[in-house]
């Protein structure tokens, strides 16, 4: 067991080191795709930490992401950047806790519907507030953070999410969530405080998405509600995580890489057809690979090495 873990950690470290070398290629386009992949890896992996075991489909990513972006945009002239990152983390956690408390005792459908419009609602309120009190529509975020630094920051965040996921997987909380995902009634009758466990875990993707929004704020320079709270982001995260497989820590990564590349190619050659791609991949997930690429890969591995445990 420990031998295997050691091997996995070594492998991960090598992959991480290689990924960290990307900016040295000196290719701006490759780096920007690298940033996108790193960003979605962080978002999709943290999304799957909650939604994988509980089967709740959260579309709240954009709401938290926008929250983080706005914390930075609103505070950049007054507070140091690193402090704003911490503030974004805290704001995301608090918002997630509140939303979780209000909605996680409801059935899955209501939760989906609630998160579906959340980003749009916050966008409307922020726009309205800005129009009435801000005096202008957008905010400027001017820093000297380069694309390279941004990329490394995201890579660090990804590492943190993986470590967090690995730790949760070994913790009582992680075990409790697997039980809840299997049968919530049994979980409650085994002494698990199901509501508390779900809210605690829902905080993870909330604060991570808020942090990512904060990290990426400098990239935009000029921020307005429509950019920060783009509902599409939530769907992209869901589909990448499910495409890769939400029940494994490394699953979402397998979805993020091909989907990002595909999305990139389609937006270049058929700029209007990203929607169609999104739709087709959704149906593909439901009908062909319900457990994602990771699930498929495991089935194949098992077929190659029968009972090779």
């Amino acid at each position: 067991m420990t031998g295997r873990e050691l091997r996995n950690i070594t492998l991960s470290a090598i992959v991480l080191a290689l990924a960290a070398l990307l900016p040295f290629l000196g290719n701006g386009y490759v780096l920007s795709i690298g940033i996108t992949i790193a960003m979605f890896t962080v978002l999709a992996t943290s999304w799957a930490l909650f939604s994988g075991p509980t089967h709740y489909i959260s579309l709240a990513t954009a709401a938290f992401y926008g929250l983080g972006t706005y914390v930075v945009a609103a505070g950049i002239d007054h507070l140091p950047y690193w402090l704003l990152l911490i503030l974004a983390l805290v704001a995301g956690a608090v918002a997630a806790a509140l939303i979780g408390l209000a909605t996680l005792r409801l059935s899955g459908v209501y939760f989906v519907i609630f998160t579906l419009g959340l980003a749009e609602m916050i966008r409307q309120i922020v726009s309205w507030a800005q129009n009435n009190w801000g005096g202008h529509r957008g905010l400027y975020v001017l820093t000297d953070i380069t694309e390279e630094i941004l990329y490394w920051e995201l890579l660090a965040a990804a590492t943190a999410v993986y470590l967090l996921g690995w730790w949760i997987g070994r913790s009582r909380l992680g075990f409790a969530l697997r039980i809840i995902g299997n049968d919530e009634v049994v979980a409650a009758h085994s002494g698990i405080d199901t509501a508390r466990a779900k809210v605690m875990l829902f905080i993870v993707p909330g604060m991570v998405a808020s942090l990512v929004g904060a990290l990426l704020a400098p990239r935009w320079t000029y921020i307005e509600p429509a950019i920060a709270f783009s509902a599409m982001l939530s769907f992209q995260v869901v589909i990448m995580a499910l495409l890769g497989g939400a029940s494994r820590l490394w699953g979402p990564l397998l979805g993020v890489i091909p989907f990002t590349l595909l999305w990139e190619a389609i937006s270049i050659y058929f700029p209007n057809q990203t929607m169609l791609l999104l739709g087709i991949v959704f149906l593909l997930i439901v009908f062909a690979i319900p457990r994602g690429i990771a699930g498929r890969a495991e089935d194949l591995l098992r077929a190659v090495r029968p009972r090779g445990n």
Binding site: F175, A176, R178, V185, V186, S190, G191, I192
Partner: protein, 245 residues
């Protein structure tokens, strides 16, 4: 008044669903090391009574105390943590988890909480206890029906509960399995565990229970040793219907 060795005491407990009174002012005590049978014809309110004790349903009226402290009104998880653990009428396992993890679920979050090595060791002990020790690494789907029941029992035992609620734990077993099942509960009894048994297999009730409560239409209609209550005229009428049709 409750005696010194009373573990669970049920006082004036009622539960209504709309106009229907499923459980009607039930009173009884369960003593330490006692195996109590809760029996009655279909629809008499036994399973509702179990759901009230385990916290799956809230009470409409009355109170339930565990060793003198009130547990009625608490959530299911809180009641489990205080030491009341149950099995389900239709066996409920965690299909995505391995056999040993199923048992650990009870050990990690139950009445006496363990974690890591200790939880796994204790879970193995419980598997051994129910005779499933060699199935620890099997997938859940490959278990036979009696083994699924054993596994559920092991999960419940793993939390070291003060009191065990077995809801038709023997139902659906074939004859050889039934013998195994009855033997298993006999062993629990010999260990001095406190058990409430909802059961339709009357031969099991006769050989396992110290006392029986008979319910009909939500009310307690008899209480005593199995032999006494099963010879009771009212009980026979409850089961077989009126004679003067």
């Amino acid at each position: 008044m409750a005696k010194a060795n009373t573990v669970l005491s049920v006082r004036g407990v009622s539960r209504r669903f709309g106009g229907l009174v499923a459980v009607d002012r039930m009173d009884f005590d369960v003593d330490e090391h006692q195996v109590m049978g809760l029996i009655g014809p279909n629809g008499s309110g036994k399973t509702t009574m179990m759901n009230l004790i385990s916290g799956a349903l809230p009470l409409t009226d009355g109170s339930i105390d565990l060793r003198g402290s009130k547990i009625s009104g608490l959530s299911a998880q809180a009641i489990n943590r205080r030491g009341v653990a149950r099995t389900f009428q239709l066996v409920r396992l965690l299909p995505g988890l391995s056999v040993i993890e199923n048992v650990m679920a009870g050990a990690v979050f139950g009445h006496r909480r363990r974690w890591g090595r200790a939880a796994e060791d204790y879970a193995r002990q419980m598997l051994d206890r129910v005779g499933l020790d060699d199935a620890a690494n099997e997938p859940i789907a490959s278990l036979t029906y009696i083994d699924q029941k054993r596994l559920e029992l092991a999960r419940v035992l793993a939390g070291e509960p003060e009191i065990l609620l077995l809801d038709e734990w023997l139902a659906g077993l074939n004859l050889t399995e039934l013998e195994t099942g009855i033997q298993l509960i006999k062993d629990l009894r010999a260990e001095g565990r406190t058990v409430i048994l909802v059961e339709h297999v009357m031969d099991a009730i006769r050989s396992l229970c110290d006392v029986c409560i008979v319910m009909n239409s939500g009310k307690k209609i008899a209480e005593g040793t199995p032999a006494e209550v099963l010879a009771d005229d009212e009980v026979i009428r409850a089961y077989l219907g009126d004679d003067d049709a």
